[in-house]
Amino acid sequence: MADQYISMDTLRYLLYQVHGLEQLLEKPRFQDFDKEAIDIYLNSVKSFSDEELFPYFREMDEKPVVYEDGKVIVHPQIQKIMQQSSEMGLIGGTFDYEQGGMQMPYTVLTAAYFIMDAANNHVPGYPGLTDGAAHLIVSFGEQELQEMFVPKMISGDWGGTMCLTEPQAGSSLSDISTTAYPQPDGRYKIKGQKIFISGGDTQFSENIVHLLLARVEGAPPGTKGVSLFVVPKNRPVPGGGLEPNDVTSVADFPKMGQRGYATVHLAFGDQDDCYGWLVGEENKGLGYMFQMMNGARIAVGRAGAAVATAAYYASLQYANERPQGRKLRSDGKKDPSEGQTLIINHPDVRRMLLLQKAIWEGSLSLVLQSAVLYDWETVSEGEEREQHRLLLELLTPVTKTYPSEMGRESVSNGLQVLGGYGFCSEFVLQQYYRDVRIMAIYEGTTGIQSLDLLGRKIPMKQGQALKLLAADMQATIKEAMAYDELKPYAQVLGEKMQLNQKVLEFLMPFAMKGDYERFLSDATVFMEFFGTILIAWQWLKMALKAKQGLLTGDKTYTPEFYESKIHTMKFYFKYEMPKTNALAQTLMDEEVLTIAREKELIG
């Protein structure tokens, strides 16, 4: 097991120097926070993760969640973590004071969860989904509903989940069939099944509050007939106490990774005795649920970045300890009598380590960029608020996807650094590799996110979000152009923005003439293309602040720290950015090979 799983320095650098968290703290909503308090808080989360999460990371994989006698049995440490998560403000910390929260910036909560994800990615989903579910109730639920469920969720006594997927309805939510039958007392009887419910049950929870999508009997077909319900495992009874609510855990899905995180198959109303409470209005459930889904998408990106971070430090430690081979002499030969060199001295190992570093730091920067936008949207009004909202909408699918897809690539390179040992259970890299694989599937697969990006977010409001993004990127380019060392990279980013424009000019006419299948057939390729450019923007921002730190003699970090940021930016531009040319070529190729034709050619 590696000694280090995160760099707190880089996390702080991104929060304060790159993404300007302190400017956000000047807003009245966050007046009770300052940098000192946030530093203490993040250090506390790190200590909590060091003591309660990281030591159990391997054990949760080796002793996974099991389903026995109708019960979902998780690692005993989960109970302690849920209780402490509440004390740490990890559940409800961002809520308004009057909702029982502390008005903590979402960016700070994101940083806190990132630390926990890196320490042990099997765990943060338990408090994280409870937080998201409680937030849905306080955002859209009646006061009575809030009083009935939220305090116990914030205290960590009750868990929370989101129940969307059904055996016949995965990515296609319009096909869900769980049904809600109105009752005279205002409640609804619920009947149906939900699968892949993360944190869906544990032996410890006094109660689990499921935020569930269902159709009210007779509702219109498709997504316009979907409503949102609170369906607890145990329902509160008048006068206090709980009684079973006919929610049954049918199974826990054994998985290749994240084996300490329960993934449950739930049955609702098998005995016709399951009751739910409507959240908001009938048939508007999917809209409400998108609040939680968007948060969950950023959370998945965050987790992908975090696993890649932990894997990077594990492989870096190995590379600094493992002697193997000898350096080449000037005649191209090796001296066998010379002692072996550490593998970190081999250029190809250094390339793999730099690639990992470029991916996880770039990913984390994008995640925090989105989190900061969320906070700015919360504290601003009018046109400014709308601009932040649009930009966040555009970035969300990329924030979910780039860290998930490239995080896997990063971990794979980390595993490769260990050679044969990387494939062995004795070393932790194989576990990170198995764990990170789910990120491209959770909360809307890469395919779904790509359709969302190209089909909805790019064209929305006549491309308004893309224009806002371009303006932000141009501002970074303009600032970077003032420094000779950064100028060539700023120019490349500008050229890639033009290339993006060219690709869209090629693709958009398909949509305009109604050929949506052609327009979206390579959406995932576009996602990779667009994501690679966005991470280059993040790296230019990081390098810019590093350059300024060096020139002003800012002693918050060492000169080596700043130089490392600039060096990694250069690596990213040299090794990753050329890919965009090939991807653009594919995207603008007239030949269509993936759309199904009458004659089946896959077989």
Partner: protein, 246 residues
């Protein structure tokens, strides 16, 4: 009951220590500072007395410039009631002990906690000198402490090969070792409450520092690691012999 907990502002143990190029001082660039972990044991034990139902006021004290205030804030977030910063640089242990004693004199503290040592200079001398200034009893390396009543305490302390149990009158100076309490992680509400707790800055007493650090030196570099293949036993023996190790 009034408890004074003395805390030091020290580099995080994971920090790579570097000195200024002339060796005159620690280079603080990029260094993260924390509460000295042994002092934190004392703070945790003091909070434990509170949780046991005793009426306790906990004051945390640090000798240092404004840069030590985050450490005091963290102590407040963990559960101290108020904080004091003696506004001077902590130049040498005798000076620090004299400053703390000067502050504590006449304020009717019943108990002063320190760590068994600070993890930066590892002097282990401040608490003993502090007790001497105050003419109080001193119990070092305490691993357990219980109050019998408002005037007496029983302490366990680490000694070579075992432990010693001592009984002492109050007031007393106690230097804390691992075991006396568990570290506590401040929670969000504690951190927010800490911003509103009093942090007083007091001027130092007029005491002349006893000594001045001239220079810091790094330890000699470790020798390069040499690897031998399994079939090179002869070469290994030869190398060890050359170095005079066998």
């Amino acid at each position: 009951m009034k408890i004074l907990v003395c805390v030091s502002h020290v580099p995080d143990t994971t920090t790579k220590i570097q000195f200024e190029s002339d060796g005159s001082a620690l280079n603080k660039t990029g260094v993260t500072f924390v509460i000295n972990p042994y002092d934190e044991f004392g703070l945790s034990r003091a909070i434990g007395f509170k949780e046991e139902g005793k009426s306790v006021n906990i004051t945390v004290l640090c000798v240092g410039g404004p840069e030590v205030e985050p450490t005091l804030r963290k102590a407040l977030a963990i559960g101290a009631d108020d904080a004091v910063r003696i506004n001077t640089q902590a130049n040498d242990p005798a000076y620090v002990a004299a400053q703390i004693a000067s502050y504590a004199e006449g304020k009717e503290f019943d108990l002063i906690f320190t760590g068994k040592e600070s993890i930066d200079y590892n002097g282990s001398t401040v608490p003993g000198m502090l007790a001497e200034h105050l003419l109080w009893p001193f119990v070092s390396f305490a691993t357990k402490m219980d109050l019998q009543d408002e005037e007496r305490a029983v302490l366990h302390r680490e000694v070579d090969g075992g432990e010693e149990v001592v009984e002492t009158s109050l007031p007393v100076v106690v230097s804390c070792q691992k075991g006396i309490a568990e570290w506590r992680i401040p929670n969000m509400r504690g951190i927010m409450a800490a911003r509103k707790k009093p942090l007083a800055v007091v001027s130092p007493a007029e005491i002349t520092p006893y000594f001045q650090t001239v220079r810091y030196n790094y330890p000699p570099p470790k020798g390069e690691c040499v690897y031998f293949e399994p079939d090179q036993a002869g070469k290994l023996i030869e190398t060890l012999a050359q170095k005079g190790l066998i």
